[in-house]
Amino acid sequence: MNDQRPVVIIIFVFLVGAVLLTKLFMIQVMDDSFMKRAERNAIQRIVDHPYRGLVYDRNGKLLVYNNPIFDLMIVPKEFEVGDTTRFLELFKISKEELIESYQTARNYSSVKPSTFIKQISTNEFARIQDFLIDYPGLFIMTRSVRSYPNPIASHALGYIGEISGRQLERDSSGYYVQGDYVGLSGMERFYEDELRGEKGVKYKMVNVRGIDKGPFKDGEFDTASVAGHNINSSIDMELQKYGEMLMMGKTGSVVAIEPKTGEILSMISAPFYDPNSLTGSDFGKSYTALNKLETKPLFNRPIMATYPPGSIFKIVQSLIGLQEGILTPETTFACNKSLVACHNHPSPVNLFGAIRNSCNPYYHQAFRQIINQEVSSNTFKDTEIGLDAWRERVLKFGLGGQLGVDMPNEKIGDVPSSRYYDRVYGEGRWKYSTIYSLSIGQGELLVTPLQMANLAAIFANKGFYYTPHLIRAIDGDNTKIPKEYQTKHMVGVDAHHFDMVQDAMVQALYGTATRAIMKDIQIAGKTGTAQNPHGEDHSVFIAFAPKENPQIAIAVYVENAGWGGRAAASTASLMIEKYLKDSISRPDLENYVIAGNFIY
């Protein structure tokens, strides 16, 4: 019997070998989860954050840059405080703060670094730098935050902040992770892809205690970060600064455009805020505070506030009438105040006189002819057809839709269609008498200040516009800007119709906005007064200058400031002078605007 037993023992030996090898085969070859777990164990992925692109103004002056900030880091295990009093003095913290920060760091990890004092300023850093060597376990980590040499153009430039959970969910690129900074408004958001650069990544090995054991595979898989593209904005820093000085203490918008390119020279939303307040660790606190203010400084008025266009819309009506052949420069209507109120001026007037005097009854009668062209014998049907045909023409002026400016959240304003009136009054139950307010820019019409400035640019260009935009070049190359900003949009009105309109706009200043007149620069402009049921009317003015070869088109809104001829026209005139001549020859007018007493 014992002769079999050595064989049994050998079989047992082989069996054990087979069992071990089978199990090893299962965990080593069949199951790759251990490989992943090993990587998670020992390989740490460290993101190398790129420098965000800088933003310059149209003349190459710096608007936004990255300011290094310094975080004091601590490795609790290595930390030695030494002389506590000296330490507290040096770092300007209390004993309680020291104990608390230290405990927090220790609770996180005693061997891994964590933040000890956040965001030390450059000056503070310079002060403590030399003493750091006395404190093992403390070191400085450099990060950067957005910074603004001049606290201007906050709405146009926008701000960056930590990416939100919702944004992360929607992000299909997979580029972002929790804690990443991302453009949240203005150009920062619109040009996020250009500005952000590309993250780099370093793989390093760590041991069981999280201590760095050098690069993984000698850095074979590491990539360097790529800095973001620098952007040249079309904003003129000096003009922007000057405009913000004028708008100080007021509520409203200023949008200035270079007509032949659509480049936005200045975009002011008043009241404004210091863009430096929405950077770094103060972001949350400042944002909440700004958001609570009743003056709504975060509200980007030039593209988000909508007002009735008022009298300025009469120019659009004139151009449509001319193009339709309904009006000619000689078309005359009486100033019949029984139709709609008007102020006193010679009557009857031709088209030129109507623009110059802003005659309401003229447009009441002209608009009726534009709308009711007797295409249908049914007056209701005829009005509907006329309104929609008219609306098509108005939309071509960039109204009633997003222009497509390079900022998020642009409002579309409103140009009502027949569908709208059908809904409100019922189909076939409204006619010209229902909608006549549209003739003088009232009623349901709503436009944004940006759309108004674009109108001024259209008038200056005699019938075309480029979508207004804040970008001028990417990395100094102006061909890199989005194609839509290089495309000419025709408004469908022949250029020669604009000649008379431009002349009338020059003359209009002498009627309603004498303050805006300049001796040596011919300004074409039009005042408006946006009716405000909640208080004083808003002062509105659009203009372009010089009349021959226009360089700047501008729209100014000053809320609750009454007539367009006062606050808005004065501000616009000063802006034009500043841009074209770079100096102000009318200190009295400047003081008048700064003082801001427009109601009297």
Binding site: P6, Q28, A38, N41, K213
Partner: protein, 424 residues
């Protein structure tokens, strides 16, 4: 004329070769386990474990030479005295030894320390061989069974007192030798059955299922059997005893010290506490499992190198091998052990006297146990038991004791021609 003792031609060179191959692979793996790319110390640097291990290897070779040069009768003659000396050392260890982690395992002066528990293995092997070589010694008889267990039990008790349960368990491996020497097969069948039921009882959450299964088996056996009253009663009693055993096992486990309980529970559910008790096994499996088919390459392992696996140069040395050389590396080492053990069985069977054969089977038993349990624990097949992988693990006591154990047998084997046949 007396033939000279050292006859090179009679030495079993296959075994010697396997021994040296294993020792060298072990040495390279010890270097890999402590290797730090940032410091870049040489494998010979005695400030790291690989350098020290080289010293142990050198002294082990000296020991081999001494053993091979000694008179072949020496070991048989000194078997009992060596055994007694070892018992005394084991007895003294708790009093003169040095305490580490609550265990007192080593004695010695300064940095020179030996672990009597390791050396007691070959001493017990020699004693058992000497004790059992009598022709009248018959393991099928209860009297001799008790005597053999007695010789085994003395060192076991002394080692448990240190306490070093892992090393004590090694002595039970002698059951392999007892099997060869004629311990009746029924004990083994019973033992395997009990272990199987114990594993099932611990592994299956609800003992009711197991009890039900036992009842079903008993009923089937009764129906298929001779249906005599004795057999029916016999099967029923065995069934009831087994069910009682099943339920009492949980109670027994709950009486064990907590760390031993945890080691058992982790075996059945490795994710039970991956950062606590499960850490060793989990990290060990990650290290080995991440090796893949061909491994990450020598010195390229991250898990063992960066200390994720505790005790990686001693008891968990197999992790380094598995991680850096993958399944193919594991295959080579396991194949070497299987070849070595098979060769030793062959050698034991060609011995002309019972003393040599019994000693040979003792060597087989001890090596088999270490090889099987050590690797099984690193891959989660067996609870963590602190025993080294023969010839591989770092440490002088372990390398020396395995070397002495193996080479005494190689010496005996080389001198077998000089001995008279005195088989029982």
């Amino acid at each position: 004329m007396r033939e000279t003792d050292i006859n090179i031609n009679r030495v079993d060179w296959i075994t010697v070769m396997i021994y040296f191959v294993l020792v060298m692979i072990g040495w390279f793996n010890i270097y890999a386990a402590v290797y730090d790319g940032q410091v870049d110390k040489s494998i010979f640097d005695t400030s790291i474990n690989s350098g020290i291990q080289l010293v142990w290897i050198g002294t082990a070779i000296a020991i081999i030479i001494v053993i091979m040069a000694a008179d072949y009768r020496l070991f048989e003659n000194l078997a009992i005295p060596i055994y007694l000396v070892m018992l005394v050392l084991l007895l003294l260890t708790p009093f003169i030894g040095k305490e580490v982690n609550g265990q007192i395992l080593t004695i010695g002066f300064g940095s020179f320390r030996i672990q009597p528990g390791e050396f007691a293995k070959f001493a017990t092997a020699l004693a058992l061989a000497k004790f059992m070589e009598r022709p009248t010694f018959d393991l099928s008889k209860t009297k001799y069974q008790l005597q053999a267990f007695g010789v085994l039990l003395l060192p076991i008790i002394l080692i448990i007192l240190q306490p070093d349960t892992g090393t004590a368990m090694v002595y039970f491996s002698m059951l392999i030798m007892f099997y060869r020497e004629g311990l009746p097969q029924k004990y083994y069948i019973l033992g395997i059955g009990i272990i199987a039921i114990a594993l099932l009882a611990l592994g299956i959450e609800n003992n009711l299922y197991l009890a039900g299964a036992i009842v079903v088996i008993v009923v089937i056996l009764i129906i298929m059997g001779k249906k005599t009253p004795q057999q029916i009663i016999g099967f029923s009693v065995i069934g009831l005893v087994l069910i009682a055993f099943t339920y009492s096992l949980d109670l027994v486990v709950s009486k064990l010290p907590e760390h031993q309980q945890n080691r058992i529970m982790v075996l059945f559910n490795p994710d039970l506490d991956p950062l606590g008790v499960g850490w060793n096994v989990t990290q060990s499996k990650i290290a080995i499992g991440s090796g893949g088919l061909a491994g990450k390459g020598y010195l390229q392992g991250t898990q063992t190198k960066f200390d994720f696996v505790p005790e990686q140069h001693t008891d968990f040395i197999f992790c380094t091998l598995g991680e850096e050389f993958g399944w193919l590396g594991s295959f080579v080492v396991i194949a070497l052990f299987v070849t070595l053990l098979t060769r030793l069985v062959f050698m034991a069977e060609r011995q002309k006297n019972r003393f040599n054969r019994i000693y040979g089977y003792c060597v087989i038993s001890i090596l088999m146990f270490h090889f099987m349990i050590n690797i099984a624990m690193t891959i989660g097949l067996f609870p963590v038991v602190g025993i080294p992988l023969p010839f591989f693990s770092y440490g002088g006591s372990s390398l020396w004791s395995f070397t002495i154990l193996l080479f005494i047998f190689i010496k005996m084997d080389s001198a077998r021609a000089l001995q008279l046949g005195r088989m029982g």
